[in-house]
Amino acid sequence: MTWEPLLLTFQLALITTLILLVISIPLAYWLAYSTSRIKPIIETLVSMPLVLPPTVLGFYFLLAFSPNNAFGNWLDDWLGIRLVFSFTGLVVASLLYSLPFMVHPLQSGLSSLSPSLKEAAYVMGKSRYATLIRVLLPNIKPSILTGIVLSFAHTVGEFGVVLMIGGNIPGKTKVASIAIYDEVEALNYAAANFYSAVLFVVSFCILLFVYLINGGYIKQFWK
């Protein structure tokens, strides 16, 4: 029984969430405002991780990233990155796995804003970027918070993808959900209970925090 799998889990979730926030804002912006014909296809792809069994994602990652295959080989040769059975690989897989949990709240937040807010800023001579940063994003704070928390919590809870692509290497890819499975297999219920209880309490606290804030109970911190 060690804290290592738990720490690894939160480290993975934190890094994934931060990267997701950066890439999801432009993606959600495009999805919210574009009238392009390929939009339904992109929307579908973003939502796929919601419906696919995580093992399917993990399986294709495993194939793609394996140094025995073209893409994995290229990564290994040119960039020196090996994504199979490594922490970096877990991050990349988690990004795709949790993508809809960040993109959807941001997209619906942006779509629900009156289009005249954006137009008013343009008429005032403000660029798209300035409008996004100073007008649109500040007015969808609850959606941003929801996206951050859901992505974080969802990454904490991932199992199938990690098992397929990360394996079970202590300190590198053995996250809490894997450790629990491992301990149960070894009939070490006390350790499994320890990891499970911590995850349970932490997840409860995170979600409670979001509902308190978005419900307006802690207004002074979020205005």
Binding site: S116, L117, E119, A120, Y122, V123, M124, G125, K126
Partner: protein, 295 residues
């Protein structure tokens, strides 16, 4: 001089509509676009602001070409120097009144203008409040002031007062007239309210089926259509009593209670709650001028 000559196919609730406008607006005038809903008034404003692209034609403001399908010119909204007041005001909820105005400041604009505008539309006490805490009329004043921060050449007002009650409307109409004159603007107003149009505008374009059907001074346009030598009022009967050979009826006309004496013959069959039309001749009326300070 602003010359507008644009074509655009609009997809309205009633189906496709061809907008083909040709009109000229003199500098410094306050003109109104008038017409039924869906005739293309708002779309015209949006095309002037650069928020909607015409299918063909030309838009020229002064010597500047803003849009031309032939020369492939289409200035972005950011390049047009237009002030616009949206129907829903579009105030930024995350900013205070003052921050809303400051956000509109360009790089070259002098900050003094904000102080001046706050004074003109009397927002001094409200400047540190968020828009959600303001009344409709107050929000409208903020939107008006914010549209002027950039010192635009052209001010576009898209039914700016439609959501407000009558009393606040007439106050805000005064603000609009004041800023129009104070900042020497050319203003285009979209409005349904004849009283408002007569009070505010120098010139009116009546739109029908996507085209300018009629134009002229608002009074001449409206009066010609409905010039009458009898007054006609609609009233609700609040109370009715028979006294000797006549009836006394209490009426509610708009917000005023009025008592009238009518003959026995006229009073027959009238009941409390009935709606009635009253006509009387417009000969020899008593007229008093209303002191502006008491309006």
């Amino acid at each position: 001089m602003i010359s507008i000559n644009i074509q655009k196919t609009l997809f309205a609730a009633t189906g496709k509509m061809q907008l083909a406008l040709q009109l000229e607006i003199k500098q410094g005038q306050l003109v109104t676009l008038y017409g039924v809903s869906g005739v293309g008034k708002t779309s015209t404003l949006r095309m002037l602001a650069g928020l909607l692209k015409p299918d063909a034609g030309q838009l020229k403001v002064g010597q500047e070409l803003w849009y031309s399908s032939e020369q492939k010119v289409n200035l972005k909204p950011q390049e047009r120097q237009v002030g616009m007041v949206f129907q829903d005001y579009a105030l930024f909820p995350n900013m205070t009144v003052l921050q809303n105005l400051e956000f509109a400041l360009g790089k070259q604009t002098n900050k003094k203008i904000i102080k001046e505008l706050i004074e003109v539309v009397e927002l001094g006490d409200l400047q540190h409040r968020k828009p959600s805490t303001l009344s409709g009329g107050q929000q409208q004043r903020v939107a008006l002031a914010r549209a002027l921060v950039q010192q635009p050449k052209l001010l576009l007002l898209d039914e700016p007062l439609s959501a407000l009650d009558q009393e606040i409307r007439s106050k805000l109409q005064a603000y609009i007239l004041q800023v129009h004159r104070h900042f020497k603007l050319t203003t285009i107003l979209v409005s349904h309210d004849k009283k408002e149009i007569v009070k505010l505008s120098d010139w009116i374009f009546v739109l029908e089926k996507g085209q300018v059907k009629q134009q002229g001074h608002p009074i001449s346009i409206f009066e010609k259509a409905e010039l009458n030598t009898t007054f006609k009022l609609t009233a609700t009967i609040n109370d009715i009593q028979q006294v000797d050979h006549y009836f006394l009826i209490d009426l509610l006309i708009q917000d005023e209670n009025i008592q009238l004496k009518i003959s026995e013959k006229q009073g027959q069959g009238l009941q409390v709650g009935d709606r009635i039309n009253i006509r009387f001749q417009a000969t020899n009326p008593s007229i008093f001028k209303i002191d502006k300070n008491h309006e």
